[in-house]
Amino acid sequence: MTAPLKKQTQYLMGNIAAAEGALAAGCRFFGGYPITPSSEIMEHMAKVLPGKGGVFMQMEDELGSIAAVVGASWAGAKAMTATSGPGFSLMQETIGYAAITETPCVIIDVQRAGPATGQATRPGSGDIIQAKHGSHGDYEIIALAPSSVQEMYDLTIRAFNLSEKFRVPTFVMTDEGIGHLREGAVLHKDFETINRRKEPGTMPFDTDDPLFVPPMPIFGDGENLLVTGSTHDGWGYRKVEQPEVHERLVKRLRQKILDHRDEIIETSEDFTKDAELLVIAYGFVARSARKAVKVLREKGYKAGLLRLKTLWPFPKDIVARLTSVAHKVIVPEMNYGQVAGEVAKVSKSEVIPYCRVNGEVISSIELIRELERHVS
């Protein structure tokens, strides 16, 4: 998980690596509001973005941050914000707006222990369900979960690419543990950059293309755009009383993500081929889980790890496949079973959540103890 030490390896903080990933991916607008434990991302962007011809705006609140991000995205920017639970809650209405208007934007949520103000300086994973279901109505988003400083860089780049390709709000669901972790990472330039597709004169809000993603013009192109959060037809005209228009729109917003799960979903597996005891983990806890599974293997137990780098759309096919081999599935996470619930929906075997919500990360030592309890 930690990058091998190479010549270009830098020693840096997770939040800084995420900001660097955004810059490398072409982010040129940041709108934000200070909140622990995410503020280093904002401060780094404030320092670096203007020198790259980008725009940094400190907004009056998180409602304003995400609104400015969506406005800037339609003005042509690859745009982002970074926040934590309380701010993420405030942004939810506009996240729904970004979903229905198909606005590319990236939000990094450096999660802390909630609810409410909770433990502002301690890690948690309590926003996973909110990331998918936080705004009203039915819509799909993409959420990624880094487990290392290197992945803060790599997955932030990936978040921009997916967001631009699918015209969808994309979240990097990290936590205080990874955000403030300092370790080696390589800020490489070895990646593909995806930019939104422009096709003058075509409908910006509907398509028959099998990708289900229409091209996206921007303000100032002379396209006389009609962007609205109300139900709209392919050209953006409000059509709020036609059932067929609403259904077609909402169905496509789902399809464009769910029909491309194979392309969007990334996972990694350790010893899963014959694993009878399967651990499913993500984020910081996946680091502890990896160590625990390795120790159990050394002790001769058939333990394996499925690490989720994509949380939404949920990797249900992979979970279903691996749980058909395993006898038991342990899901350690820093909430009361938010991902365990998703696993249980598709699991072929018993799902055992291992929950922790006190702001302490789940250590490999206690996880080894827990896993041993289930094999003996």
Binding site: M57, D61, L63, V70, G71, A75, G222, N224, V227
Partner: protein, 257 residues
């Protein structure tokens, strides 16, 4: 609407959604007259609006880029678009509930930062689209769906609010002063910095009928009888101006009021 303005109307738009007697049609005309006079190419114009009757003035009617956003957030969306592409002339048009109540924080902070946008607030003393509830500009004692015994609160003085927050320019006109209104919009759009125009635009359907203005013209007669100019206000005893609507232009750094 004069034929000159037809090029600014989106093809296929045959009528507005405004009720009989609503002032928003006059405001619509004043905005188009201003951008027409300034000869701004449509592709350099972005109209941003929130939620409510006034938010439907630009969207979908105006034949330029339009961003119809969420309730209260229009100013923040506008700030994002303008800051990334300063070539855009960004004009926010929305109602008083949208801009001064649910969106009040964005309004004062955009004024404080002196963001280079124009905000046109159509004040109609109530939430028209949702059925006539009290708004931030409802007059003291005004009868509304949520204060049937009379609004117990004083309305916002939006012009002085934004000036105190740091706006470059502010104006207030009623829709019964269409030429002055249009000239003010012209000045706001061509002035750098945060410019704000409050337009008093009556709502006969919701506010008029609850406040015993049985005919639309009575609501307009009331408006005409209540508005005064800044110059007139200066000559009056301040306590006599409380019931009046003071109209005119205000510039940053001027001695108030």
């Amino acid at each position: 609407m004069s034929r000159v303005h037809e090029q600014w109307i989106r093809p296929g738009i045959a009528k507005t959604t405004f009720c009989a007697g609503c002032g928003h049609g006059i405001l619509m005309n004043a905005v188009l007259r201003a951008v027409e006079t300034l000869k701004i190419p449509p592709r350099e114009l972005l109209f941003v609006s929130g939620i409510g009757c006034a938010a439907w003035i630009p969207s979908p009617n105006f034949n330029a880029d339009t961003l119809h956003t969420l309730h209260g957030r229009a100013v923040a969306f506008a700030v994002g678009a303008k800051s990334f592409n300063p070539k855009l002339n960004v004009i926010v048009i929305s109602g008083d509930g949208d801009i001064a109540s649910i969106g009040g924080n964005h309004l004062i902070h955009a004024a404080r930062r002196n963001d280079d946008i124009t905000v046109i607030c159509a004040s109609n003393e109530n939430y028209g689209m949702t059925g006539g509830q009290t708004g931030p500009t409802t007059r003291l004692g005004g009868l509304t769906a949520t204060h049937p015994a009379g609004n117990p609160y004083k309305p916002f003085d939006l012009v002085h609010l934004v000036l105190a927050a740091g706006a470059q320019y502010a104006a207030r006109y009623t829709v019964t002063q269409p030429r002055a209104l249009s000239n003010a919009i012209e000045r706001a759009v061509s002035t750098k910095g945060f410019c704000f125009i409050e337009t008093i635009s009556p709502c006969p359907t919701q506010f008029g009928r609850r406040n015993r203005f049985d005919q639309i013209d009575k609501l307009y007669d009331d408006l005409v009888s209540r508005y005064i100019t800044r110059q007139e206000a200066h000559k009056m005893d301040p306590k006599d101006t409380v019931e009046k609507i003071v109209t005119g232009e205000w510039f940053r750094g001027e001695v108030m009021p």
